[in-house]
């Protein structure tokens, strides 16, 4: 039952976007989000859409995949659209009973929907083109300056890496324990909510115990190999800014300049 579940949504192909330095990608994504909020007209969104089209094409991720990422937040987009549509005061263009749709509301609602859609498409490109492990590496590097203020950057990144690493393991374990309990006549599929929740006990108790056991064993194995946190630790994958990164920075700057120029003008 868990076999079809994919974690994150990393789409592993080889493309210039995939090979970008993760630090740059994270920074670009943040600036991209800010740039979206600078735009105040539909024409401005055309610049963003054009930019996204270029990036998606270069990344070799099928458009279908990027759009699929929208599905979970479709509901939020819809609610935002409706609230803006019905709650904005202004010149009424259509009314039915207490429902009034104004010209400003129509504009505002469309605006928010487009902005949210572009926002999600742009940010999902980050996770689509970066494997979770590399992404945590990038986050760690970016958080490093804050260690001076007591932020445990390396530890945070290590926790994220370990958590990601154990998701498939725990899912496999769940399936195994589920089968073992089913063999003893356990029923996970029928009954009302209360009895279903109760029936989960034979699954959850062994799962927690095994998670603790694994954590214990992992800690032991790490200690046996002299792990002692982030201080003076070198890495196997060094992050280096390459020609491709300069090219990406150039393209991104052009995009940003276009947005700003458009806003002032």
């Amino acid at each position: 039952m868990f076999r079809n579940l994919t974690i994150g949504q990393h789409y592993p192909v080889d493309s210039p976007v995939h090979n970008l330095d993760p630090r740059l990608k994270i920074i670009f994504t943040i600036i991209f989000i800010i740039s979206l909020f600078l735009i105040e007209s539909f024409v401005g969104f055309l610049i963003v859409a054009a930019f996204l089209t270029v990036v998606i094409t270069i990344s070799k991720v099928p458009l279908k995949f990027v759009i699929k990422g929208l599905r979970p937040i479709l509901f939020i987009i819809l609610v935002t659209f409706l609230i803006n549509l019905l709650m904005t005061p202004g010149r009424v263009v259509f009314s039915l009973g207490f429902i009034k749709i104004t010209e400003e509301g129509l504009r505002q609602a469309g605006f928010m929907a487009v902005r949210l859609t572009l926002l999600i498409m742009g940010t999902s490109l980050l996770t689509l083109t970066t494997s979770p492990i590399i992404l945590t590496d990038g986050i760690e590097a970016l958080l490093k300056p804050f260690t001076k203020f007591g932020l445990p950057a390396h530890e945070l990144a290590m926790m994220m890496t370990i958590a990601l690493r154990f998701i498939p393991t725990l899912m496999e374990e769940t399936e195994k324990i589920m089968k073992a309990q089913k063999s003893r006549g356990a029923d996970f599929e029928s009954g009302n909510i209360v009895s279903r929740a109760k029936n989960l006990v034979p699954l959850l108790v062994p799962l927690f115990i095994s998670a603790f056991r694994r954590a214990d064993e992992l800690a032991m194995a790490m200690e046996a190999r002299c792990y002692r946190g982030g201080v003076n630790r070198t890495r196997m994958r060094q992050m280096k800014i390459t020609k491709g990164d300069y090219a990406a920075a150039f393209i991104f700057t052009v995009y940003l300049a276009a947005v700003i120029v458009f806003k002032i003008w």
């Binding site: 076999r3 374990e173 195994k176 324990i177 089968k179 073992a180 309990q181 089913k182 063999s183 003893r184 006549g185 356990a186 029923d187 006990v201 034979p202 108790v205 062994p206 115990i209 095994s210």
Partner: protein, 286 residues
């Protein structure tokens, strides 16, 4: 009445690049009261096959019949089938969850909807079958026990359902020799005492050769060989070719035969090997 599997095919991850054919045209029958060993290399499909026997996985193609009932046809009958076909997974101690040993062993019977007296009777019986003193162990927490003890409690949990067929997947994996012998001794005793059919799954011929009546050798999702342990033993070269180790006695006998000693090929136990070798020594001395 037997378990009968006909023309079984099983495909993992159909429709993805990870598609694997785990079972490819399997035909096997397990008769009532039989003691059968299923051996095969890692990935030969043995664990998948036994999960089809009690309806945990549906076969992609082919049918499995338990005592005349088609597995998977009727969802409501699955519980009956799972009672009849008791499956002890690899490392079964990881399924323990209750506060006391008695409650954990009683989980299966409770799911079968039995009365309280019947449950406590079966729990006692099952725990004694696997060699525990019921009064001493019943209120202990399963998490305080040693590895070998935990495993015996888990096996008791399946026995308490009174299966007609008991399937054990690598029941001795990860145990020390003493724990291993203990488990095998009890499985043997159980088979002698009752008319339960036992199916022992292993990757090692050494472990099961002494116990079982019939061996089914799986290789790459197919039944590669089938026969009595003696028959399988005599094909030592073939066993090695498909990546299965052969028992030490068999390999010694084979080596001696190669060097011209006249020893019969299908020697099973160390005792037998000793007798045969002594016979040959006497012949030569004369």
């Amino acid at each position: 009445m037997p378990i009968r599997a006909e023309n079984i095919k099983y495909v993992y991850s159909e429709g993805t690049p990870f598609r694997t054919l785990a079972l490819d045209g399997i035909n096997v029958q397990i008769n009532q009261g039989e003691f059968v060993g299923i051996i095969g290399h890692t990935g030969s499909g043995k664990s998948t096959l036994i999960q089809l026997f009690n309806g945990l996985e549906p076969a992609t193609e082919g049918t499995v019949e338990v005592d005349g009932t088609l597995v998977g046809e009727d969802k409501k009958r699955l519980k009956t089938i799972r009672q009849k076909v008791g499956l002890v997974f690899q490392y079964p101690e990881y399924q323990l969850f209750e506060e006391t040993v008695a409650k954990d062993v009683g989980f299966g019977p409770l799911n079968l909807g039995l009365s309280e007296e019947e449950i406590s009777f079966r729990v006692k019986e099952a725990l004694e079958l696997v060699g525990f003193n019921y009064n001493k162990i019943k209120d202990a927490s399963p998490f305080e026990l040693s590895g070998g003890q935990k495993r015996r409690v888990a096996i008791a949990g399946v026995l308490a359902m009174k299966p007609d067929y008991l399937i054990l997947d690598e029941p001795t994996a990860g145990l020390d020799p003493a724990g291993r012998n203990e488990i095998f001794r009890q499985i043997k005793k159980l088979h002698e005492l009752s008319d339960v059919s036992v199916i022992l799954v292993s990757h090692s011929m050494e472990d099961i050769a002494k116990l079982v009546d019939r061996v089914i050798v799986l290789c790459k999702g197919k039944v590669h060989m089938e026969g009595t342990p003696k028959e399988i033993y005599s094909e030592a070269d073939e066993l090695e070719r498909i990546g299965l180790g052969i028992p030490q006695t068999a390999s010694i006998v084979r080596e001696l035969r190669k060097r011209g000693f006249n020893i019969k090929q299908d020697v099973l136990t160390i005792e037998e090997a000793k007798e045969e070798i002594l016979k040959e020594v006497r012949r030569r001395n004369v």
